[in-house]
């Protein structure tokens, strides 16, 4: 376990004990709620983790580097952003997936674009958003979020 994870455990553990001391019942209730949320996701988590193994075995790193690497950065970034906009997987499982691609040699620029549109832009939830806030709001918010996802991604690429 690296230092980062260990310190997270430390902080979380301390907060947890403090919460228990303050109000046991309330804390246990919220744990029950969080457990329900986890239960809904566990199938997807396990599925993605084993899918990563398949990807790493059958897609050689050179291919990943070629497609998502530095060479055709702009196109791969736009496509990643588009894929992120239409998929609806919890961000929770997206991080290990994206991490495995980056470990295999993918550039971080498309990775960031994907992660950002995945959560901020929702094509699947668009009808719901339109119904609640009107077409103009939903359309402009999603469009702006898409554009800024690209900007964030390209800026990250320049800085890192």
């Amino acid at each position: 376990m690296d230092i980062f994870t260990a310190s997270l455990w430390g902080i979380t553990g301390a907060a947890f004990i403090a919460a228990l001391v303050k109000d046991k019942q309330k804390t246990f209730n919220s744990i029950k709620m969080a457990r329900g949320m986890m239960k809904n996701m566990i199938g997807e988590i396990v599925g993605i983790l084993f899918l990563i193994g398949l990807i790493l075995t059958f897609i050689p790193p050179e291919v990943i580097k070629n497609i998502l690497g530095e060479s055709n950065l702009f196109i791969s970034t736009v496509i990643s952003a588009l894929v992120g906009s239409i998929t609806l997987i919890p961000a929770f499982v997206a991080f290990p997936l994206v991490g495995s691609f980056v470990d295999a040699g993918a550039s971080i620029v498309p990775a960031v674009a994907f992660l950002t549109t995945l959560t901020m832009v929702g094509i699947v939830t668009f009808p719901l958003e339109k119904q609640e806030f009107g077409l103009k709001f939903a359309a402009i918010r999603n469009a702006l979020s898409f554009v800024f996802a690209l900007i964030i991604a390209l800026t990250m690429g320049v800085i890192m």
């Binding site: 997270l8 979380t12 109000d23 919220s30 983790l49 193994g53 075995t57 959560t119 918010r141």
Partner: protein, 239 residues
């Protein structure tokens, strides 16, 4: 059984691929498991942390206080409140829709609602831990800073393009005319709170709350008003 498969399409597909692989190319299958192992271990290391963080935030961040004090907040304070509310909430972005709608009705500005929605989507404290784990703390930190800046710009641009009149805000119905209750099924998370508080009016069936038809008198309408506020995803409203 079919239910389970339907609910876990991805897991089913991946399992089938592995079964097939173990029969056809066992060495490739072993390699795949080995490749997954690193990520599985990492996930196991971080999952309890995320789980407990989510629970603690859910229990101890006074979301009701934030939401209720919203109407008056403007300027910098409103912006900070919006970021906090979004960052400390659980659930996917569409879970934020009814809450934001309610805040709009209460007088929150479009800019702040956009901040809540966006922060709700991308900035989640437990998720930041997860991101740092798999992509590194530097990556997470930089993306966080850039995202916060972008959200501020987006929220400003939105106020330029979208005015409050563009948003369909249901008429605030006069309560004496309320004839019943509407439950938005797509938002209800089946937490059972409404049933627990008013079993005579609500019943949760298949994880969705249902309204038991009945006529309403004034006391009941007042009681129902309290429940409408209590529903964690604001799925209940008068009809």
């Amino acid at each position: 059984m079919i239910e389970i498969i339907k609910k876990n399409k991805l897991l089913t597909a991946v399992s089938l691929a592995y079964v097939f692989l173990f029969m056809a190319m066992p060495d490739k299958a072993y390699l795949s498991v080995k490749n997954s192992m690193y990520y599985i271990i990492e996930m196991l290391e971080i999952m309890p942390v995320i789980f407990i963080l989510t629970s603690i935030i859910e229990a101890w961040v006074p979301k009701e206080v934030i939401i209720n004090g919203f109407g008056e907040k403007a300027g910098i304070k409103g912006i900070i409140f919006s970021f906090l509310l979004g960052s400390f909430s659980a659930g996917p972005i569409y879970a934020a829709f009814p809450i934001c709608k309610m805040l709009l009705k209460k007088g929150a500005s479009i800019a702040n609602v956009v901040i809540i929605l966006s922060a709700w989507a991308v900035i989640k404290v437990p998720m930041l831990a997860n991101e740092a784990k798999f992509l590194g703390p530097n990556f997470m930190g930089l993306r966080w800073i850039l995202t916060v800046m972008s959200i501020l710009i987006i929220s400003y641009l939105m106020t330029v393009f979208v005015k409050k009149e563009d948003i369909p805000i249901g008429e605030e119905k006069s309560l004496s005319k309320a004839t019943g209750i509407d439950i938005k099924e797509q938002y209800c998370i089946g937490c059972g709170l409404c049933e627990k508080l008013m079993p005579q009016h609500f019943k949760v069936i298949d994880k969705k709350a249902k309204w038991k038809e009945s006529t309403l008198n004034d006391t009941q309408i007042n009681e129902l008003k309290a429940i409408i506020d209590k529903c964690p995803v604001k799925a209940i409203d008068f009809r």
